[in-house]
């Protein structure tokens, strides 16, 4: 099953409420995915700074670690967001390469990514989702089908700097695609099918494709059932497989564009009564962006 929620704000006045709105949407989708939940929030970018979201085992001295790189630190349960000067990023990456116990959840100018096991409401509360601000967010509630219930297997999956992917469905050719991508140097941490889709997009983008072209190519190369929602620094995209068994509904107003697996998750958004509601068409790439 699984539930997806995506919210892209056009009206910056709503930005302080982004986390609260995303939290409501994810909680409604608990019945579609009670195993684990996660979300990517695109907050404000600081000039010359880059953000690393890291996950560390209990007891790790994250404050001391952040201080080594002159990074500012924001701790959210077992996740921590380090903001540091871009020129220090390579040094941090080198240090992290020697520390396998620290998981790099996401990297980018604006993205912060959090995920964990448990009911969406508990996961959101652990990370303080309701208090987060930003311009757009992508969230997921998981009912595991293809691989184990672990934090690593929770969505979103990061696909590259400032990019993430969530998925509802199951891919049937993921083992084959994973093998091919591994030959191209893409690394995988799990046996999860969605991670393969994320790796596929990372690979296409690395080879120079634009995101919309990469998604269009995914229609050819990925076999199975999927609703994908991808987040980027400036917007979010939606793709459904040509058969489109998995549910999707979208709402657009002057203030926002929202995606949900079910209308129930949209029902509390402001101004939903007057929103343009539609079901995204099968096999069509949708994209919403705003000026960075």
């Amino acid at each position: 099953m699984c539930g997806i929620a995506g919210l892209f704000l056009k009206n910056s006045a709503l930005e302080p409420q982004l986390g609260a709105l995303m939290s409501q949407m994810l909680n409604v989708l608990t019945e579609r995915g009670p195993d684990s939940a996660g979300f990517a929030i695109y907050g404000a970018a600081a000039p010359g700074q880059v953000k690393f979201t890291l996950r560390a085992p209990a007891g790790f001295d994250m404050a001391g670690f952040a201080a080594r790189f002159g990074a500012s630190l924001s701790v959210h349960d077992d996740h921590a967001v380090l903001s540091l000067a871009q020129e220090k990023a390579a040094e941090l990456r080198n240090a992290l390469a020697k520390m396998p116990e620290i998981i790099v959840v996401s990297v980018g100018n604006r993205i912060e990514l959090f995920k964990g096991i448990g009911l969406p409401e508990e996961v959101g509360a652990r990370f303080g989702l309701a208090g987060m601000a930003g311009s757009h967010a992508v969230g997921h509630t998981r009912m595991a089908t293809e691989s184990a219930v672990t934090t690593e297997g929770a969505h979103p999956f990061s696909t590259g700097a400032d990019q993430c992917l969530v998925h509802n469905g199951s891919l049937s050719n993921h083992n084959d695609v994973r093998r091919r991508l591994m030959r191209e140097g893409i690394n995988f941490a799990t046996q999860n099918d969605t991670e393969v889709a994320a790796g596929y997009l990372s690979y296409k983008l690395r080879e120079g494709a634009k995101l919309d072209a990469a998604l269009t190519q995914a229609l050819e190369d990925l076999d199975g059932f999927y609703n994908f929602v991808v987040g980027t620094e400036t917007g979010f995209g939606v793709l459904r497989d040509p058969v489109s068994c998995k549910p999707a509904v979208m709402a657009e107003t002057d203030d926002y564009v929202a995606f949900a697996s079910e209308y129930r998750a949209l029902a509390d958004l402001p101004g939903i009564e007057a929103a343009h509601l539609f079901e995204p068409e099968p096999g069509r790439v949708y994209f919403w962006e705003r000026a960075a």
Partner: protein, 238 residues
């Protein structure tokens, strides 16, 4: 009587889903006696809830005042149910008789496997509209998505807009009337000559659905009946 229930001057019974659970509503609707005088119901705050007004077996009128979730008005047997909004997957699935009217759009599998009654969709229906239909009449005022009337067995599907890919794939029987374009026909579905009987059925359905179009503006599609029997020449394909 529950606090969610309230009788108005017009004898419409109001049920507010913000004040009482869905299970209570469905239990009330499903246990109405045959000769009930509680014949008009209005359901407030549906907010996309699933399984709204399912399994009703008495000829009452129900207005779902907002968007409905999965399987709304499913298994309906005799009631006239109006959805004042959109309907998610499987609206009026397995309807036996009665009438279901969606004022907005319907998601996939509208009218699936239904044996009778009339389903009217004012907007568009998405994929698999009328899948495995077994006698229902469906009138869609907008477009239908891919694989509509897949394995349909009997009944009539009227599409006033366009039809998506693979219309009527693996059709047994059923009349498919389309006013607009058909992106592609499914296996064993073909264009048919519209006879007087077909035109009369279409004309009646258009009139009952309040559509001001003429039967001659539509094209009839039906089963070529070549999949009815196994052909030994095709054995190599399996």
């Amino acid at each position: 009587m529950s606090s969610a229930l309230e009788k108005t001057m017009e004898d419409t019974i109001m049920f507010d889903l913000a004040a009482a659970p869905l299970r209570e509503l469905n239990e009330k609707l499903q246990t109405l006696p045959g000769g009930t005088n509680q014949t008009a119901w209005r359901i407030a705050n549906p907010r996309g809830a699933h399984a709204l007004a399912v399994g009703i077996t008495t000829p009452v009128q129900v207005l779902i005042d907002g968007h409905a979730g999965y399987y709304a008005a499913g298994m309906n047997d005799g009631a006239a149910i109006t959805i004042n909004g959109n309907a998610a997957t499987g609206v009026a699935e397995n309807m036996m008789s009665g009438r279901v009217h969606v004022k907005g759009d319907a998601s996939q599998s509208a009218g699936a496997t239904a044996h009778g009654g009339l389903l009217i969709i004012d907007g568009n229906a998405s994929a698999r509209c009328g899948i495995s239909m077994k006698g229902i009449d469906i009138v869609v005022k907008g477009n239908v998505g891919h694989m509509s009337a897949f394995m349909a067995q009997s009944g009539n599907l009227v599409v006033c807009g366009d039809a998506g890919d693979a219309l009527g794939d693996s059709l047994y029987e059923a009349r498919l009337f389309v006013k607009g374009s058909v992106k592609s026909l499914g296996a064993d579905c073909e264009k048919k000559q519209m006879g007087a009987e077909d035109a009369a059925i279409l004309s009646d359905l258009l009139q009952r659905a309040g559509v001001a179009a003429k039967p001659e503006e539509f094209t009839l599609y039906g089963s070529a009946r070549t999949l009815y029997h196994f052909h030994v020449d095709n054995a190599g394909a399996y």
